[in-house]
Assembly symmetry: C2
Homo-oligomer: 194 residues x 2
DNA sequence: TAGTATTGACTAACTATTCAGTCAATATAT
DNA sequence: ATATATTGACTGAATAGTTAGTCAATACTA
């Protein structure tokens, strides 16, 4: 282990993996691709990870925790928090830098049916997002800001809408993002706001 | 070309590809895997297709047309047609046979960002589904069965909900299908039905 | 016969993974 | 304090297996 920080080599591996995924996408990603973005040797990857699969599982863990941290949206009134969260998860435009990694995360998600560790990770993300929204709704209902809906079910529906919109944005040409965002916000206005 | 039907070899290749995808999934699919499900030789695949990529593109075309044909749901009143369509696209349970191919289609969809031909196909599916729903809504509005909503926007939202639900079902453990279905139908009841 | 369909044997490139060994830093023993 | 042993981090080169794709020869069909 290095001296600078607690896990600098592993951090460097994660960053190299990130870059490699950016450039090549998941399905054609090779260990060599990762090594090419890594300033140390390819063998070292096997010193730290027993296989490509475990390396990628660790990367997924690492990256999804970052994604989860995006769910944190301050302490304002529930309606504002919900709006912020939706705006962040279904933004008007995805900035060019984060585009490739979002696509890689979609590719990894599509592997989840075949790979248990991936599925566990995505299940967790799903649960955390749903619970986050549920809490916001619950708080809004208590404060009389939202109508008295079933917070859990409503959160589930919102999560599905969010993911559906995200998937379509990345996998189709000319997806009408603005129309979908509007409908998302309209749904909140009509179903939730008092 | 064979004598039996117009394209029996190509049909056999499509079926072999289907089986191979069932067994191996997309990301680890090899030409050999397809050949193993094919009663003729691997070389023959290259006689009919210039590359693995074009073979899979053709397979996607073939399979998505089948998927699109599922959108056809009879001639009853719009409210019934919509309900049937939703029930078909977000069924209570996915039958074991079609499970693997649905997953393969999700994997292929995740390749769409990198592969133009795939993206075009999925864009088309998306468009057809949206337009199908839009027509149903339009007809329902005209007949006074549905409220006077913006059919196009409402169709867009429904499509995102449908896809979101499908993605989550296949990529997470313990996805609450029933709750999501209920919310989908509740949304229709509240937003659309007069 | 002439074209079409099909094959098996082949290859060149690439794949993940292994392994023997280097090296600097640290711990231990005297 | 000095010599010795032991470690963890790291490397270059090799390996065994897999991959998509080719091609000359052959069977089939019209």
């Amino acid at each position: 282990m290095n001296l600078d920080n607690p896990e600098p080599t592993k951090v460097a591996i994660m960053e190299a993996t990130y870059e490699a995924l950016n450039k090549h996408g998941y399905s054609s990603l090779t260990i060599q691709d990762i090594a090419d973005e890594f300033d140390r040797s390819k063998s070292l990857l096997y010193y730290h990870y027993e296989s490509k699969e475990t390396l990628l599982a660790d990367f997924l863990e690492y990256t999804l925790q970052e994604f989860i941290s995006e769910f944190e949206v301050g302490e304002e009134e529930p309606s504002i928090r919900l709006e912020r969260l939706l705006d962040r998860l279904v933004p008007e435009s995805v900035d060019t830098d984060s585009y490739p990694i979002q696509i890689a995360l979609l590719e990894l998600r599509a592997q989840a049916p075949h790979t248990e560790v991936y599925r566990e990770r995505y299940s967790e993300v799903d649960t955390v997002l749903t619970e986050t929204i549920e809490e916001i709704l619950q708080q809004g209902i208590e404060r009389g800001e939202f109508q008295d809906v079933d917070a859990e079910s409503e959160a589930q529906l919102l999560v599905s809408m969010i993911y559906g919109t995200r998937v379509r944005r990345f996998t189709t040409d000319e997806f009408p993002v603005e129309q979908n965002r509007e409908m998302l916000f309209t749904h909140v206005d009509r179903q939730l706001l008092v």
